[in-house]
Symmetry: C2
């Protein structure tokens, strides 16, 4: 890439994402669907105007970090505490059902192996790929619909965050079968340490920010220092605890969500996000896609793979929510909100490839899953929320549904 | 660098830039001085916590692009047309005087050579390095002081942009002495074509944006499409016409400066800029610095080099302004505003090294010049503006001096 080629890439992404986003809006779909499709169109799958690059990957990573940080900031802490145990249960069942479903699917196509055999491990690995939800697109959709702060929005977001952590634990256990150097208990320990670390940093930073906020309310230093905290926790989570960076960013948001100026921070982050990093993140989902290499058999498997992955998540999370007395409609929202898969599924696949538990041909199936779930989730969520009155939060405070952002 | 090391780098930059910026403010200096010093402190010169990386360079480049785009948008077109011819003259004289000064300085230290000899070319190259102003820091300072939109602010900004173009023409002519493959007239031709191209794109885009703005006022699509235009012109300027990318970004700003929603665009750009890209740009000036390799003789030369570079710019631009009936104080502002040197000086030096017209030891002098001018310019400008009443613009409309931004 020539030295300033990234300006060209960004110009194309901003223009196409906005145009396609507006087109999607015209067709009554969420804008984010248009932005993802824009990435597909300008990327190698169709026109090939923009390729993947390290720079765009980093910009996209900042994009999803900002999204999760924003979701954390907009959380109502009391709602979160109330939904926490429910979210934990939803996340657990929502990991187990796809894990089982994926394993069975592989067996149905390629035969079942004895427990512990290579075939068995390959099967269970296909299930593992299906476990991790990718919450960025759901968060953006809920935001567009003005529902992120609602009870169901909080439930989905926190369940998806927990789901990420469980997904990593499952991955480490599964790899542990094959690779004796993997220490599953270490992951559990690290997760525990991360929670302790978050509380320690959280308390210290909360009081520090509260002091700054009281002394210098509504000044630029607050969002900027908040952003520094977000970046730091994203880094620390992944680097020192092996937890996904988005979890760190979400925790940073939670630390700041009870500040007086939390809305002020959220607005600044939101602007940085939708002006530059958001479009790059959503378009990059399409950019990473490269179809091809589908044999008829693989295509059949991939279609089933996508169906199983989506349905097991909807059923696992949805039924759990329904058992906890949510209405059918709300339970479906939870299931659909959790069904999106993204980068994490790709990362897990890469891991499986490198330890020899997965054949590279299945990458095509994973990419198909990412694209289908990324496009379908926002559309179905919008339909499910259609015509509903504004929610009340757990604490009885009415949750304002802000005007749809002017796009 | 590990995959997510950039989060750590960004966290350190945001935190240190803000803290040092506030400290500078406490000491009555502009914040931007603190941000540059923050880069020095966290960079290889002192603690070495953050190193240069491609990613940070690209973020910094976006930072300066956004600054110039913002400066373009905040321009009053009538003021610009009125100051244009004056700015052209200031830029010309402001290039010639340092060119002569640098040539003489080299001769004084290392002896004069006959016209056309290698020694003569080396001397004239030292002068060439001194020609190009780097306007980003001046723009940010004027913005902090609420003076960017004023008459002098417009004069400095437009002169600095013209100065960039002239600097490139001079560079090509000088290299042409040594390298027959360099075609100076091509550069002049390209510059002319770029001006034509800017007018063509400008008219088309102006009417397009005016239509969008009228139909959907105050909606996100306007700043986002504006940003796409900025990136596109920055790219096109450098890629197809050999003109600096910041010139393209400034032109993009000028195209949009007469829109109803120009303030709305400027605000969104400003937020993206000060939240992330601005601090990275200013800190990166310090990050790129690595002192060392100074012999006593080189140190003596470097100090004289810095003095000559700063004084010739102040004298060249200042006297020209004074001859055009500006007050002594305003003339000094113009001279000081134009004396900052930055990346362009480094790029010119690199070019000189590659064609064998410059010895690599002089890099240290150039870096010293960049640091001294970057730190001194904002401080002196602030002193020069101290206690002045708000200006009136050329057209008689009072120029609002906005409240100092809350930092």
């Amino acid at each position: 890439m020539d030295k300033i080629g990234f300006f060209r890439d960004l110009a194309i992404i901003f223009l196409s994402a906005k145009v396609m986003g507006l087109l999607a809006q015209k067709l009554k779909a969420p804008q984010v669907v248009g932005e993802i499709l824009a990435g597909l169109i300008i990327g190698p799958s169709v026109f090939g105007w923009v390729g993947q690059s390290d720079f765009l990957s980093m910009m996209a990573e900042i994009g999803v970090i900002l999204l999760m940080f924003g979701a954390g900031i907009e959380t109502n802490m009391r709602d979160l505490l109330k939904t926490g145990p429910k979210a934990l249960l939803i996340a657990c069942i929502g990991v187990l059902v796809p894990l089982g479903g994926g394993t069975l699917l592989y067996g149905a196509f390629y035969g079942f192996g004895a427990v512990g055999s290579d075939k068995f491990l390959s099967a269970i690995f296909i299930g593992t790929i299906m476990t991790a939800t990718s919450v960025g697109i759901t968060v953006q959709t809920l935001k567009e619909l003005g529902r992120l702060k609602g009870h169901i929005g909080t439930l989905i977001t926190s369940a998806a965050i927990i789901d990420d952590v469980i997904g990593i634990i499952v991955l480490t256990f599964v790899i542990g079968f094959k690779n004796p150097e993997s220490h599953p208990m270490d992951v559990v320990l690290h997760t525990g340490l991360f929670i302790l670390f978050s509380f320690a940093v959280g308390f210290a930073c909360y009081y520090l920010f509260k002091f700054i906020d009281k002394r210098w309310p509504h000044q630029r230093r607050i969002p900027i220092l908040g952003l520094a905290l977000c970046m730091f926790l994203a880094y620390a989570a992944e680097k020192y605890f092996g937890i996904a960076d988005i979890t760190g960013a979400y925790v940073a948001g939670l630390i700041l969500c009870s500040l007086h100026d939390s809305n002020y921070i959220a607005r600044k982050i939101d602007i940085s996000s939708y002006m530059m990093f958001g479009p790059v993140f959503f378009a990059s989902i399409g950019l990473k896609t490269q179809f091809g290499g589908f044999t008829a058999e693989l295509l059949g498997f991939s279609v089933c793979f996508v169906l199983v992955a989506l349905l097991t998540k909807i059923i696992g999370c949805g039924i759990t929510a329904r058992l906890m007395k949510y209405s059918w409609r709300d339970s479906t929202k939870v299931g659909v909100g959790m069904m999106t898969r993204g980068e994490v599924a790709l990362i897990v696949s890469q891991k499986g490839l490198s330890v020899g538990m997965m054949d590279s041909k299945f990458f095509a199936s994973v990419i198909l899953l990412i694209i289908v779930s990324s496009v379908a989730t926002p559309i179905i969520l919008k339909l499910l929320y259609h015509g509903e009155p504004p929610e009340e939060s757990e604490t009885g405070a009415p949750v304002a549904v802000p005007e749809a952002p002017k796009a």
